[in-house]
């Protein structure tokens, strides 16, 4: 059986390249329209990873950089959910990577000079593979809001960057996960590049009391949807007729 194509990307679901209120986009947005390609083997294939590529501790940001017996400062959270496609089918065995600021809003990055301190026990990155049901989870601390240079007084809402591969290079996606109830979401020029309020909701993790571990960690649920692909019935075939 020949593999089927992916659904064309709904470009209106995403921010346009040029979003002037997010100033950095002004000189980093192509002037010309992207040229739309029909899928070939170059697009429907993509990198694959296995458990030998990562360590079991990589999804535990509370422990993966902390000194023995210590842990980072901040609100302990679990970030969990499923990676699905547009057909609502799970995407199993796919790599999910995250990165974030610490509880004070400071990144462990040599280019970050914000005055909030580095946390010696917090690296700020993690990765994991989804299981056979597309499920993933991380343990971390809730990141802090931080200021950034756009307008003079812009603050990013608390967020975790999320990178997902899927099974074809055409599904590759990087997004950001925000947290339910954060008043900075509505004020953020980066969040507001997303054209549709429903899209903003889709990048806002929900407080999940059922998954919360009593007396230990608060849980947030963040499902991720990658592009789906056709069933094989009357598909547009990649080869021949």
């Amino acid at each position: 059986m020949k593999p089927a194509e992916y659904y064309q990307r709904d470009r209106q679901r995403h921010a346009p390249a040029l979003t002037p209120d997010y100033k950095t986009s002004v000189t980093r947005s192509p002037n010309f329209a992207a040229i739309s390609l029909e899928n070939t083997v170059s697009e429907i294939t993509g990198p694959r990873f296995g458990h030998s590529d990562i360590s079991p501790i990589d999804n535990d940001l509370i422990r993966n950089y902390a000194a023995d017996g210590q842990s980072p400062i901040g609100e302990r959270i679990i970030l969990h959910g499923r990676v699905l496609d547009e057909n609502a089918r799970p995407v199993p065995n796919t790599m999910v990577e995250i990165w974030q600021a610490n509880a004070g809003g400071r990144y462990r990055h040599k280019k970050d000079t914000y005055l909030a301190p580095i946390d010696p026990n917090f690296g700020g990155c993690g990765r994991t593979l989804t299981d056979e049901n597309g499920y993933y989870f991380f343990r971390t601390v809730k990141p802090g809001a931080y200021p950034w240079r756009n307008w003079v007084n812009d603050w990013r809402p608390a967020h975790i960057h999320v990178s997902i591969f899927g099974s074809g290079f055409t599904q590759r996606l990087i997004t950001q996960c925000y947290f339910e109830g954060d008043p900075l979401i509505a004020k953020c020029p980066i969040v507001q590049t997303i054209p549709d309020p429903d899209g903003v909701q889709a990048v806002t993790a929900a407080l999940d009391m059922n998954a919360t571990i009593p007396l230990d960690s608060i849980a947030y649920k963040f499902d991720i949807v990658l592009r789906g692909r056709r069933s094989t019935l009357f598909e547009n075939r990649l080869e021949g007729n």
Partner: protein
């Protein structure tokens, strides 16, 4: 009103931001946390074919280098096979076909070592010229930019390539052709990406 189709909608993209290195290349951010970072070795030691270095710079609309960019490469091996079950054929042990690079923070220059890919099947029985698929993310880029790198010593294959031929403006096709030189015995392909403005690189909606 009609029935609900009940498809889910793709999660909206958001910029990778200035600190993408922390998550995807933490060594470059200044700390070692993982035993192995992804995309460090594209071809592995056993891959057949010509060993090449691909290098370039990503340039913004002011003509300045974008120094906080991250690129990912996805390519077939020298036989035109991707390391994926939906590509017909086998790849060498250790051939991943996936690369991830960041720039020198001071200059914006990036480079990676790999093998030159072979031609791969196109749609409807056509053949695609050898190419490397590239994905570019950075602060200020809301949705990752897809492009392709082709090789200037493959003029005949490039002229017949079904994707290059989709580009209506023939003068823009040259933006996708890397230039080959030999320096100190190493084969170098130069591929500068212009995100905006004069000589703007062709990007694809895949």
């Amino acid at each position: 009103m009609a029935q609900d189709l009940s498809y889910l909608k793709e999660t909206p993209s958001q910029t990778a931001g200035p600190y993408v290195h922390i998550g995807l290349a933490p060594g470059a951010a200044g700390f070692d946390i993982y035993d192995q970072e992804l995309g460090k070795d594209i071809a592995g030691p056993k891959a057949a074919g010509e060993r090449i270095t691909v290098q370039g710079i990503v340039i913004d609309g002011t003509g300045s280098p974008i120094k906080d960019v991250l690129l990912e490469a996805w390519q077939a091996n020298a036989d035109g096979v991707y390391a994926h079950p939906e590509s017909d054929g086998e790849v060498e042990d250790g051939f991943r076909g996936f690369g991830r690079v960041i720039t020198e923070f001071e200059t914006g220059e990036w480079s990676f070592d790999t093998v030159k890919p072979g031609p791969v099947p196109g749609r409807n029985g056509t053949t695609q010229a050898p190419h490397i698929n590239l994905w570019v993310v950075a602060r200020g880029i809301n949705l990752g930019l897809n492009t392709r790198l082709y090789f200037d010593d493959e003029a005949e294959a490039n002229a017949a390539d079904p994707v290059l031929n989709v580009i209506e403006w023939e003068n823009r096709r040259a933006t996708l052709i890397a230039k080959r030189t030999v320096q100190d015995g190493k084969i170098i392909y130069r591929f500068d990406i212009r995100v905006q403005g004069d000589g703007e690189t062709v990007f694809f909606d895949i």
